[in-house]
């Protein structure tokens, strides 16, 4: 991690900005679809946290694998999952990425190295650990990344996985999206230690970054991913961020006092837009991007709704692989 900081070009940042916008607009659409009753069940939005998946995954290729969380839409979209398949899944359609069987908490596309969102806190850690093991045993030039929230610091699996990743020298990056909340409770009421100290206790290297600044996340993750890829063992990257919405859509958040203006100050889209302006990108270009992405989302939702609903007979047939 000794390389000099690499300046970002306007084109590169515009690409990251568009990724942030894709996640934001897709989740805002999901929120509306949920409010309308079109998307059932539980959905957990990552609005405010988009810079972490976008910044980290901008350093990954298709062979690199990602294990995600219940708040996983950002990881999925940043990894390049098809918008059509994504919306079809959440709308419960047969054309969904998981044929309507998983929904929001299980969005996956293995052809792109996205090993799935996950309904169990911390479970992705051991999935990514095993994926990193497979990369190593099979001699692949690939890394495995697990995203987890600060609530997962309370799970024992984190200790087991840090220890094993370190012992086995696995190509694995642990990315903590620290949004300050463990479901409905402030994490400082739940966790008695820092992630930095936990990593140090396992002899695992640790970096931290402003998780709302996509340029900073991308740069910090670039150094970490390059290092992990060189076979130097696991790294923990802690990204301090914000959770704008509740734990799940429909959460009345009676436990919460943070004001909206405070959240606005940390909005990763606003921060990235300011950085783009400083690089000479006009607001008009950002508006064009927004309109383009909105059109793509509209088309994906329309296409999903025109498709066939998920099918019980084929589901029953897929309990076991043949």
């Amino acid at each position: 991690m000794s390389q000099a900081e690499r300046p970002i070009s306007a084109d590169e940042l515009l690409h990251l900005y568009r990724q942030l916008l894709l996640i934001r607009l897709a989740e805002e659409r999901l929120s509306a679809l949920f409010a309308d009753g079109a998307v059932p069940g539980f959905i957990h939005l990552s609005i405010g946290q988009e810079a972490v998946p976008v910044g980290v995954i901008s350093n990954l290729g298709p062979a690199d694998t990602v294990a995600s969380t219940h708040r996983g839409h950002g990881h999925a979209l940043a990894k390049g999952l098809s918008l059509d398949g994504f919306f079809a899944e959440l709308l419960g359609m047969d054309a969904g990425l998981c044929r309507g069987r998983g929904g929001s908490m299980h969005v996956a596309d293995f052809s792109l190295g996205m090993l799935g969102a996950n309904g169990i806190v911390a479970a992705g850690m051991s999935i990514a650990l095993g994926s990193a093991l497979a990369h190593k045993v099979l001699g692949r030039d690939a890394v495995a990344v697990v995203f987890f929230g600060d609530g997962a610091l309370a799970e024992g699996l984190l200790h087991e996985c840090l220890n094993m990743a370190k012992l086995m020298g696995l190509p694995m990056l642990f990315v903590c999206e620290n949004n300050g909340w463990s479901e409905f409770s402030p994490t400082d009421s739940q966790i008695a230690f820092s992630l930095e100290s936990l990593a140090a206790g396992h002899g695992v290297r640790y970096q931290h970054v402003d998780g709302n600044n996509v340029v900073a996340v991308a740069e910090s993750a670039r150094l970490a991913v390059d290092d992990v890829r060189r076979g130097r063992g696991p790294i923990v990257l802690e990204c301090k961020t914000i959770r704008v919405r509740g734990h799940f859509e429909g959460d009345p958040q009676k436990y919460r006092t943070t004001s909206d203006s405070e959240l606005e100050a940390h909005d990763p889209l606003r921060i990235a837009a300011e950085q783009l302006r400083a690089l000479g990108i006009e607001d008009e270009q950002l508006s064009v991007s927004r309109a383009e992405i909105q059109t793509r989302i509209d088309a994906a939702v329309r296409k999903a709704r025109e498709g066939e609903p998920a099918d019980f007979a084929t589901a029953l047939n897929d309990v076991y692989a043949a």
Binding site: T65, A67, G96, L97, C98, R99, G100, R101, G102, H106, A108, D109, F110, S111, L115, G116, N118, G119, I120, A123, M125, S126, I127, A128, L129, G130, S131, A132, L133, A134, H135, K136, V137, L138, A144, G156, L157, E160, C161, N163, M164, L167, M168, A315, D318, V319, Y320, A321, A322
Partner: protein, 324 residues
């Protein structure tokens, strides 16, 4: 046809599978240089190296989760969980992740992993090193569960389990490890879901699996001296189980006893009895009788454990009840 022990048959199946397929890896606590607590993996690390025969820390949850992730990323892991009691610590990985992956991800990928684990009492190992928990796993859609009773079946089922694209629980009764049986020079595979007739008989069917197959065969020998010919069906696979073989045997004998070492309540025997009642009621000449352990934690002291475990006498009494 040299005699081979149950444990050595599994060892050979692992070695043959690793030789045939470089994506097969073994992982678990003390399976490498120590060869596993029951010696089942002895010599594998020397032969295949530390990259493919992986000694892990005592981290069952991470081992099973990592095996799941590795299986989703191109390996075929064979995990050892040292005692079946410790599978309580792998439940998220096995039940929530591995079992559901193929279904929940729309058939994109499956989890070709095998989880080997010894169960069973008789070693004074006490309440946390003796349990038979296979019914828990047989209850979960997406898992397969096998529990062989003899060396050739153990070899053949292990080869099938490793080749299977789904997660398979491979349950080994500890008392069987030293039991020897004739093995062909080139043993074959045994399909998952196929039972074996361990003894032919015309009067009563005893359905059993794992360690209790030998107990049932001993009971059958005793009953034969009284003129009762007992047919013993060794299920070998529990999920899926060979409904056809059990119903066919019932059609020959019209009486059935189901025996296993696990506690009787809510056990594998309950599922088999219910299926027979649904599909084979007209073939029954007597009520179905189940034999299983007492509904208590597995006790430590020798006389307590001896009373707890189903014995040949219990199976003989059950057979008698079907003849009354």
């Amino acid at each position: 046809m040299p005699a081979t022990s149950f444990g050595k048959a599994i060892n050979r199946a692992l070695a043959d599978a690793m030789e045939a397929d470089s994506t097969v890896v073994a992982m678990g606590e003390d399976i490498g240089s120590a060869g596993g607590p029951f010696g089942v993996t002895r010599g594998l690390q020397e032969r295949f190296g530390r990259t493919r025969v992986i000694d892990t820390p005592i981290s069952e949850a991470a081992i099973a989760g990592a095996a799941t992730g590795a299986a989703l990323s191109g390996l075929k892991p064979v995990v050892e969980i040292m005692f079946m009691d410790f599978t309580t610590l792998v439940m998220d990985a096995v039940v929530n992740q591995a079992a559901k992956a193929h279904f929940m991800f729309g058939g994109q990928r499956s989890v070709p992993m095998v989880l080997r684990t010894p169960h069973g009492g008789g070693l004074n190992a006490g309440p946390q090193h003796s349990q038979c928990l296979e019914a828990w796993f047989a209850h979960v859609p997406g898992l397969k569960v096998v529990c062989p009773a003899d060396a050739p079946s153990a070899y053949g089922l292990m080869r099938s389990a490793i080749a299977d694209p789904n997660p398979v629980l491979f349950v080994e009764n500890k008392k069987l490890y030293a039991a020897k049986a004739d093995m062909p020079e080139a043993p074959g595979t045994v399909p998952i879901g196929e039972a074996r007739i361990a003894r032919r008989g015309r009067d009563v069917t005893v359905v059993a699996y794992g360690g209790v197959v030998a107990t049932a065969l001993a009971a059958a020998d005793t009953m034969a001296t009284t003129g009762v010919e007992v047919e013993v069906v060794d299920l070998r696979s529990l999920q899926p189980w060979d409904t056809d073989a059990v119903l066919a045997s019932l059609q020959r004998t019209h009486r059935v006893v189901i025996a296993h070492e696990a506690v009787k309540a809510f056990g594998v025997g309950a599922e088999i009895a219910a299926t027979i009642a649904e599909l084979g009621f007209d073939d029954l000449d007597a009520p179905i009788v189940r034999v299983g352990a007492a509904f208590m934690p597995v006790p430590y002291a020798t006389p307590l454990e001896a009373s707890y475990l189903p014995a040949a006498g219990d199976i003989e009494a059950a057979i008698q009840r079907t003849l009354e």
